[in-house]
């Protein structure tokens, strides 16, 4: 028996192959890239790194600086500060993500504190001079809220 194929079968196969190729070469990489980028920017590692760097770099201001950092409105974090380290735990919709906490260190004195369900951060530095007499001293402040 001789195998035969109709034009419609041929077109269907070509169509399926074409769609599969399109998905594999175009849509899948784009989607994966977008998802990875999104998760990377929201990730605890990234947020903790940004915060620790911003806290340290605020010390480079000679007088006063206020830095606002709001990585996302979609995800909230639990943030704790102690002994010049900052720990960030994200609260994602998926259970896996809770494991991905990150602890980063910074180089200036900042008061200890814990902040729950926050996603907007304010870092401040100013020179404080008691009674406006004597040597000034750098004071750092950190606050976090939910947007």
């Amino acid at each position: 028996m001789k195998a035969s194929i109709t034009i419609s079968d041929f077109v269907a196969i070509i169509g399926i192959v074409g769609i599969v190729l399109l998905i594999v070469t175009q849509i899948l990489p784009t989607t994966l890239s977008t998802v990875i980028n999104k998760f990377s920017s929201y990730s605890a590692e990234n947020v903790a790194r940004q915060l620790s760097n911003l806290i340290t770099v605020s010390g480079s201001a000679t007088y006063k600086i206020d830095i606002d950092y709001a990585p996302t409105k979609d995800v909230v974090y639990q943030v704790s500060i102690d002994s010049r380290t900052i720990k960030v735990v994200p609260k994602f919709g998926v259970n896996y993500a809770d494991k991905s906490s990150s602890t980063q260190s910074f180089a200036v004195d900042l008061h200890s504190g814990q902040y729950t369900d926050v996603n907007s951060f304010l870092i401040g530095k100013s020179i404080f001079t008691p009674q406006q007499i004597g040597h000034g001293e750098s004071k750092y402040a950190f606050d976090a809220t939910k947007q």
């Binding site: 109709t6 399926i16 790194r49 770099v57 201001a61 993500a97 260190s105 020179i127 000034g136 750098s138």
Partner: protein, 303 residues
């Protein structure tokens, strides 16, 4: 007629088979995507930023930037008053300087001093305030990048090594923060004036790399059925290797090493020791001389 019917049935069957195969292909493809997504959620989210980053170098540069702006080291504009003659009426002497404990204040309200006995200024038409220490930090008039030699003298050790930690409120935790300030214009016979200090910083057990590595390993240890198959060939390396092979996948161990072992240790192993040549600074001496120098900061993480 029968042949024609058979041929028609065969063609229909073939069409159905093709359709079913297309559907199966589609389902397979959806399954592959689902698997990838599951892998992403279960594995990729766990990993830390994979970009290899020179942590120690970044910390050293950040710390150097903070130090050259710190009121503990940087020169404040107000101190230009020191040793310079001013007319006494420049100072308010009546209300704010009645006793030795009060501060004296310049009339323009821009110059603040340490507690000082202002009776010194009351009799003559001009006076030398060589003993006063004026600071301008409050007004933000610190000169970033210009280090004050007198502040360096009081905070650091000059031309000798003292590993006693100095607390100036700056320094990364669980690290050795070593700071050197070199006066390049003072160099003679391969020797330069240099101030050195080890900055103190908090040290916590959980912040040590060993503890972080242990935590990471305990989090990733697994006793699944595959552990038997991993352990059997690893017996060649001895019981310890077999146990390690049974409990951890190679990529879990790699992940823990990558994320918890300090950069300086990794650099040592890879032979590419990260070092910084330091940031350029100016060093200001009490007589007003400015010397070109460098501040070199080394940050080494405790293991």
């Amino acid at each position: 007629m029968v042949n024609q019917n058979m041929h028609l049935m065969q063609r229909n069957n073939k069409g159905i088979v093709l359709t079913i195969s297309a559907v199966v292909e589609g389902l397979f493809f959806i399954g592959v995507i689902s698997l990838l997504f599951w892998l992403f959620l279960s594995r990729v989210l766990e990993i830390h930023n994979s970009a290899t980053e020179a942590n120690a170098e970044r910390h050293a540069i950040n710390l150097a930037n903070v130090l050259i702006s710190s009121e503990k080291l940087a020169y404040g504009e107000g101190e230009i008053c020191s040793g310079i003659q001013y007319p006494c009426n420049h100072y308010i002497t009546s209300s704010s300087c009645l006793n030795a404990n009060c501060g004296w204040v310049a009339q323009d309200q821009s110059c603040y001093g340490t507690p000082y006995d202002c009776s010194h200024y009351s009799s003559s038409s001009s006076c030398t305030d060589a003993g006063c220490t004026l600071v301008y930090e409050k007004e933000g008039k610190l000169s970033r990048g210009i280090l004050d030699s007198s502040k360096l003298d009081s905070t650091f050790t000059k031309n000798s090594v003292n590993y006693g930690p100095k607390d100036i409120g700056v320094g990364y935790p669980n690290t050795l923060n070593l700071v050197k300030v070199i006066d390049l214009e003072s160099c003679q016979d391969n020797s330069c004036d240099m101030w050195m200090a080890v900055l103190s910083s908090p040290t916590t057990i959980e912040g040590l790399s060993v503890a972080k590595f242990a935590n990471c390993m305990s989090d990733t240890a697994s006793t699944d059925i595959g552990s038997i198959f991993r352990a059997i060939p690893a017996q060649i390396g001895g019981p310890l290797v077999a146990t390690v092979a049974a409990l951890w996948q190679p990529w879990d161990i790699e992940k823990c090493i990558k994320n918890t072992v300090p950069e300086n240790v990794k650099s040592f192993f890879t032979g590419s020791l990260i070092s910084s040549e330091g940031l350029p600074v100016l060093i200001r001496y009490p007589n007003g001389d400015l010397h070109v120098g460098r501040i070199v900061v080394g940050v080494g993480e405790w293991i």
